[in-house]
Symmetry: C2
Subunit: 344 residues, 2 copies
């Protein structure tokens, strides 16, 4: 049996906190009995919820009245947030009382608080938000999903390296393919810094499976495992894909409801559609990592339900089990040597 995995949970973050956090944690523990759970938040609210789940009877609670507001600015959360559930939850990882922290709260605040307490991996200049999307062939990892609206060549190279490690840890892939998102596949397309990042990512000493530029249509095509981009484009692309998925589910429902015949048709094809629905269900892709920090910090979608939140906990478990942080540290050091040797 593997060693215990200690998870700190910001019990007050997210639209339906702390209910979803507690029920999601119970769900995750069914699959991972070796989880040690620490809930940080209002114990008056958490305790009665925990009592509902037998498998949470040994969970720890760290009480605090304070929490980060969903619309708080990062600087505000840093200055006045030292007693919030988010701050204290991150502190559990910083003090080595936990192996990972999960929050469904304010993303900007979580990034700022985590950067301060967990610090960055040596050499990493900008952290990125990385997450998974369903594709025609399985999964792809995309980053940055919104931490940095502007990036440079070095950031993109580091995103590629960290993204590949993240993808391997979660999917078990050996040498995931890495591509840079651009407006065309041809070498002369897009910005100069994309071209320069491409040249660095294809450097043999990095041992990356770099495949070149890819386009928006290639994201869900699934030929590329790790898609590297700036946080502005990545955020727009992710939300556009999510919006388009909603659009289809909406039209699908309408089509099935449009006549008696199509209603019967739905009943007959129900099993197949439920399977399809599961493939595109965002709950199963919930859990983005704040990549580049010297500790595992997973962000759950604020509107996630129990299934979604339990999935975010699983992402954290996978990363802890794969000794993700030391591995990424090693890859980044190797990359820094390549970049330095080129500069000399």
């Amino acid at each position: 049996m593997s060693l215990n995995i200690r998870i700190a949970l910001d019990a007050m973050g997210g639209d339906d906190a702390p209910d979803i956090v507690v029920s999601g944690a119970s769900m995750a523990r069914k699959r991972h009995p070796n989880l040690e759970l620490i809930f940080i938040g209002d114990d008056q609210k958490i305790k009665p919820l925990i009592k509902k789940y037998k498998n949470l009877s040994d969970a720890k609670i760290i009480h605090t009245d304070d929490m980060v507001a969903p619309d708080a600015r990062p600087a505000q959360a840093l200055r006045h947030g030292k007693k919030t559930s988010m701050w204290l939850a991150v502190n559990e990882v910083a003090s080595d009382n936990a192996d990972a922290i999960i929050s469904a709260g304010n993303t900007g605040a979580l990034m700022a608080i985590s950067k301060l307490q967990l610090r960055m991996i040596n050499g990493v200049t900008r952290p990125a938000i990385a997450g998974f999307l369903p594709t025609m062939r399985g999964l792809c990892c995309m980053l940055d999903l919104g931490a940095n609206i502007e990036v440079d060549e070095r950031n993109l190279v580091q995103f590629g390296i960290m993204g590949a490690s993240f993808c391997s840890a979660i999917t078990g892939m050996n040498n995931p393919s890495v591509g840079i998102l651009n407006v065309g596949e041809e070498d002369q397309k897009g910005f100069d810094y994309l071209r320069r990042a491409g040249i660095s990512l294809s450097d043999e000493t990095l041992n990356l499976n770099y495949v070149g530029f890819i386009e928006g249509s290639d994201i869900v095509a699934g030929d590329t495992d790790v898609i590297v981009t700036d946080g502005f484009t990545g955020n727009v692309a992710l939300k556009t894909a999510e919006g388009t998925a909603k659009f289809f589910m909406h039209h699908l429902r309408q089509a099935f409801r449009s006549s008696y015949l199509s209603r019967i048709g739905f009943l007959l094809s129900r099993a197949a559609f439920m399977k399809m629905r599961k493939t595109v269900d965002p709950r199963y892709y919930n859990g983005a990592i704040l990549l580049g920090l010297n500790g595992i910090c997973v962000k759950s979608h604020g509107g996630a339900d129990s299934v979604g939140f339990s999935n975010a906990i699983e992402v954290a478990c996978d990363l802890v089990e794969h000794k993700f942080i030391p591995k990424v540290n090693d890859s980044i050091s190797a990359a820094e040597k390549v970049i330095q040797s080129k500069a000399e």
Copy 2:
């Protein structure tokens, strides 16, 4: 009866040219008998195709052996392309022998050749590619889809004005809503130039229905009629939406084929699904305009079929009938006064 509309067709541009150009033109003429068609390209190839369609018997052909290669760089097309079908087709509009030009050829070359021959609208510094997407509520117009990877505040303001005019001409909407694509709806999100463009677009003297920042997920939600963005983000967002649509159609087919029951289910709900398929069929949204030029230049998708190409011709017809160019000219002059008065 309305006056004749004279359309110049680059018969050699696109994956299946000239076949698709000719069959698409015949299709468009069935709906618009008042079209005067001029095919520009290899008459040895065009003549036998035209003979197949009775309603093309009076079409004109301008012969040339030369055409712009699909992978030609814009500068190359400008320097060595003066005898190409694309150049000569654009020249028909520049010489007032035609009211609009449609090409399914190389986008960069079409932009460069059109800028040179048609010139820009007074005050417009950058042209944009604008097209329509299906949404939950109908249609939305998005621009720039890839003409400019970098833009500034003034470009975005002009895109908003021209996009609103384009949207009105095609959909008949009176006062379409205009939004700027960003990573969040809050005022402090994203780049400074987005904020400044937002302030200008909401200036009362422009008479625009500016609704603020929108996110990727809002594109197909359909609450905003005109979505303004830079050509890098717009291109990625459009292709991501197209890719996600393909992903769904793929899973839909798989779901229906997965068992005997679901095949029967498909037969029963077939009519409803065909209707849904039509809603998302990219052929009915084919035809992007090169906006900001002093003439109507419509770009068809290179892979469009006859239905798609005929739709691109309809876009051109709508714009001619709505006296689009003089109207945009007026709106841009008004906007320039606003921008100048602010600068003073």
